[in-house]
Symmetry: C2
Subunit: 410 residues, 2 copies
């Protein structure tokens, strides 16, 4: 979400909003040992992506994560490692409702003086990382007005009732029903009353907060159709889908640094044309000084075009700048060194192929992935330029740690 | 599914079974222009994967695909290109039920004399490519016994009823309901009678065959819980999940060809240990002659270890053998040339790096992806071997066409 989204959301949501993330699940449906919320994508646990989505919205004041006791240390480590600022971890309960209830209670006992009791509490799943700001804003507004609001989606399959012997009893008319999804929003008063009034049986067997609000507070939730991106990472295949969405988001654009030399600028222009056909945008700059430093704050991919010999020093300068910004904290950053060699020049592979290997090996520990591509200046260099674009685009999309330090030929 | 599955299934299913695949959908939910069933994965349309799954089961006698008129040429082309043998395409109708009905009618008018009218008709979705033989067998058996049978799955979300104003009316008790999925099976008599008796309104607005069998033939379908792999490719994220499952299936094992030389065999053994940690199995053979030719029929990945100079000729021999078997018809085959150079030997990159590039460029048109990896025989070669394993494993998993012909350094 861009800056302008934040601004319009802040204009609407002028009341305090906090978030509760129940994350006590054991992930049995993925068929993996690690609970889904702690599975890593490009080196970072899923729950950190979800936290970051909320943290990036200025109108969210605080986030409480309810985790199982045995994962408390892990969660604390995640909060520290990825420098999450608005988050507190509290012990989860033995069921979903007990975990959410613990989270809501914790919101009533905020320790930071600047953060008051929220007007609205958003409940979300740790395993739905792609929550969008404008939709969340709608839920928060509707919750404030109606007391409760929830995301719904159309049913993908027909829902049927079965007999006790395992035969078809009847099928439901699909148009009349919806799937209840997350996020859901409640005024603090409604959700905390619902949990004060509900029964042990609700705590033990229930899962649906909207139902508690209706039964114990008489609040009929406003239902709002959400985007398909709200889906819940449930099965093993969902892990692949989530990784693919994350990688696609990181691969939409790259910054090309030319040094200002004419040959490099020509090559950068040819690359821009070629990657455009591959749905990637290039921001071409001579260097990362002054205004161009904006690239360091927004790009996840850098292509350094070198026509000189002292080329890896330029890549080293990018690394220093990325480190200074702590840019690779949340996602691996790709840096591709494109060596556009003069015809009279020896190819790098005959001189020092190990320099890039060593640099890449160090950078990898800092979450920066370095690759090299060589092409020769010749009559046919434009054909090679489209090969460079194809290779660079594949490297950026795949973000493969196994291939760092390789010097590829265009 | 392996050979033994086929045998046990054939023992159970001793009656003729045919399949109808309604594939008239327009794919609007993926947000893509191409209907989902025609989206390509590693160069092959999704529907061809689904067809292949059924075609590989010997007890399935024929498959009818119902496609929209505007896609009939495309479908015919797919059938020819991927050499599908049991399939016929018929025109779909304007709704799902009309398409399925056309498919069932076509089964009554089989032209091949050896293929009779089926006892059981399986209805499946073209966009559920991962149907498993043992589950399909259960559906076919239950359909024969009960007249109708269908796959069900637990509900992932709570299902709720909404008021006309968009508020929560009530939520369903999740345990009592199931999602109705595909495949479904019917005796030919039940499904054809159901379509003869049902109304125009059913044809126009209905979607659920189980419901027609109940209403018009009094047949309560047997419901059987299916595996999560039955899921339907519906949204854009499902395309990524499907591709990931296909790639994973192709990456479980590789065949290493050593030529029998001691150095090569040692390297192969070190590779086996290293890729084992990456969840890949290696079948190590000296060559692809005699019994070892079995690898050509079952492996999707080949690693040629060369310690001699005339190394690419060995890769060329693999290509010839793969071509002879038409091995790369259904999936891209990966061939990795690992050059294990003697210390006194010049690295290949200083002699003929273009030879592998040219060979790879030709092979790519035949759906064979060639990559090269170099390592030097030295005291530290075992460390390099684990790098070779890491790189080879990444190349095999990613199957990137952009990186073919590259000579990587371990
Ligand atoms: Mg709930
Ligand atoms: Mg149906």
């Amino acid at each position: 979400a861009g800056k302008s989204d934040h601004h319009s959301a802040e204009r609407c949501v002028d009341f305090p909003v906090s978030v509760v993330l129940p994350a006590g699940g054991t992930g049995e449906r993925t068929g993996l040992q690690t609970p889904k919320q702690f599975c890593t994508f490009l080196g970072r646990p899923l729950i950190s992506y979800t936290i970051q989505a909320f943290e990036s919205m200025p109108w969210i004041q605080s986030i409480v994560v309810a985790v199982a006791k045995e994962n408390m240390d892990l969660m604390t480590d995640i909060i520290q490692r990825f420098k999450h600022r608005k988050v507190r971890a509290v012990p989860g309960g033995s069921t979903r409702h007990r975990s959410i209830c613990n989270g809501v209670l914790a919101l009533g006992e905020e320790e930071r003086p600047a953060v008051g009791r929220p007007k609205v509490v958003i409940i979300h799943d740790a395993v739905r990382p792609f929550v969008e700001e404008d939709f969340l804003c709608k839920i928060a507004m509707a919750a404030k007005e109606q007391g409760a609001a929830g995301a719904i989606r159309p049913l993908v399959s027909t829902v049927i009732a079965t007999t006790s012997e395992g035969y078809l009893d009847h099928s439901l008319e699909r148009a009349k029903y919806r799937a209840s999804e997350m996020p859901q929003g409640f005024t603090y008063d409604v959700i905390s009353q619902a949990y004060q009034r509900c029964s042990e049986s609700d705590f033990e067997f229930g899962t649906e907060c909207l139902h508690l609000a209706l039964q114990y507070c008489g609040t009929n939730a406003k239902l709002i159709e959400g985007p398909p991106t709200l889906w819940k990472v449930t099965y093993k295949r969902d892990l692949a889908a989530a990784e693919s969405i994350i990688k696609e988001t990181l691969s939409r654009s790259a910054c090309v640094i030319t040094g200002g030399l004419a040959e490099a600028v020509n090559l950068a222009d040819a690359l821009r044309k070629a990657v455009g056909a591959l749905d990637m945008e290039l921001d071409i700059v001579p260097d990362l000084m002054g205004d161009n430093a904006r690239c360091l704050l927004k790009e996840w991919n850098f292509i350094q075009v070198s026509v000189s010999h002292s080329c890896l020093s330029e890549v080293e300068a990018i690394l220093v700048a990325l480190e200074a910004e702590n840019r690779a904290l949340l996602h691996p950053v790709v840096v591709i060194w494109v060596h556009f060699s003069r015809t009279d020049e020896l190819p790098v592979s005959e001189r020092a192929p190990t320099a890039i290997t060593e640099l890449a090996s160090t950078a990898k520990h800092r979450n920066i992935l370095i690759y090299g591509i060589q092409l020769k200046q010749s009559k046919h260099w434009e054909r090679s330029a489209s090969r460079v674009a194809e290779i660079a685009s594949a490297l950026i999309r795949e973000r493969s740690p196994a291939l760092v330090g390789q010097l590829l030929q265009a």
